[in-house]
Symmetry: C2
Subunit: 277 residues, 2 copies
Amino acid sequence: MISNQMNDLSKLCIHTITTKPWEIEKAAKNYAAAGVKGITVWRDALKGRNIRETGQLLRDNDLTVVSLCRGGFFPNRDPSKREAAIDDNRKLIEEAVELGTKLIVLVTGADPNQSLEDSREQIYEGISAIIPDAESAEVKLAIEPLHPMYADSRSAINTIAQANQMAEDLNSPFVGVAVDVYHLWWDPDLENEIKRCGENNHLFAFHICDWKTPTNDLLLDRGLMGEGCIPIKKIRSWVENAGFHGFHEVEIFSSLYWKQDQSELLKDIIHAYHKYV
Amino acid sequence: MISNQMNDLSKLCIHTITTKPWEIEKAAKNYAAAGVKGITVWRDALKGRNIRETGQLLRDNDLTVVSLCRGGFFPNRDPSKREAAIDDNRKLIEEAVELGTKLIVLVTGADPNQSLEDSREQIYEGISAIIPDAESAEVKLAIEPLHPMYADSRSAINTIAQANQMAEDLNSPFVGVAVDVYHLWWDPDLENEIKRCGENNHLFAFHICDWKTPTNDLLLDRGLMGEGCIPIKKIRSWVENAGFHGFHEVEIFSSLYWKQDQSELLKDIIHAYHKYV
């Protein structure tokens, strides 16, 4: 059964990158004024800021800080770079604590100069290395499987089945999965794997946007919900049936939308959220 | 075990679209002069020509006509358009007979205005409808699973597992699968599914090129073998272990390479074939 449309904004979260031209302070003020209740902070939005104070400012705007994006990028043929990546992820966990969020999204990474199998092993090793830090900080880590078109350089984890398997193998209550409709909508196993994810209490996050036809750029041409072919309502019903009742996070990278008036974009997001999610 | 490099050109086939600026007559002459033994003909290359005579010209150049590209594109919300697609595929089978090839590659299609499940049903129905024509013409049909980035409009069949399943369900000796490394390299199940494909005598074709990092266009930025991250030798060993001993078909869509001197490109292809396949 496909759920009805979203009548209120209590579960709407927006990623700061969606309105990239806005500084985080402006984004927070405008999201809050529009009734949005959640924000996911991209690390670049914190640059040059006191993270603790920024977190407080977000809460002062009645925003839940849903997650911090993004850690990961573990694989590298060069062991010293793998160590550096692990150190950087440890630092990110500290930043999550300062910001006051309980979740980090991991884009796991890939290195085109080695096999996907090697990259996957290094992802496993990298996450393993930071689990103790995550546990003691009480910050969860969500493995985000990325669309296969990013298998060369951004993520060697390209299906929810792979992410589920890795979360199960890592076997920590602090490691789960982020389900992003953009990356996963095409997968014939999606419904079953979302169910599996929920049964293992691994469904940590739900990201939404749409896939436009045509898509003119591999990275920066995502669509607003309703503009494309992703069955968002259906996938939302699957994550809800799997026990997920957290935020619906709007994460849109679009060179097109970043050029527009961001206040208009925010209105369009809310309209699309009511109608198509 | 990864096989050694290709020491001769007896299994090298080139798709006419790879050297798109050349008319088919020129392509045939130049491929043959370079020692290439196979050609796969894209339908657009036959435009305005007597197909039977063109086929004879290819054979006169000592070229095996490996396949005709491409049929398919079955799904559409509009039933009359689905009928038209089936008719067009029947016509293509006739053209394959005139050309003198025993194989048609099917890009199965998708319609972003309906669900992937509906598109997949319509693909099944479309292929079913033309099997009698294929059988009486003795022309085989290879379902080509396309990369998930084409799930919106070009193919609702995005993994080799789906293509295998559909070929098994259709259950005709005239329906099999085309394995293209560009579409499938990222798949963690690839080795097993190639094995399954071979065990069912469904491995009809093997297409090669490479995935560049970065890839700047979803369609027209394929790389020469060796330019990217696809483990071509490894995948070749898998298809050979699965019993495939046919041609290695170079299929590169590249707005970059089409702008270059095509004779130089042909030399580069042969060099890359020796070194990286």
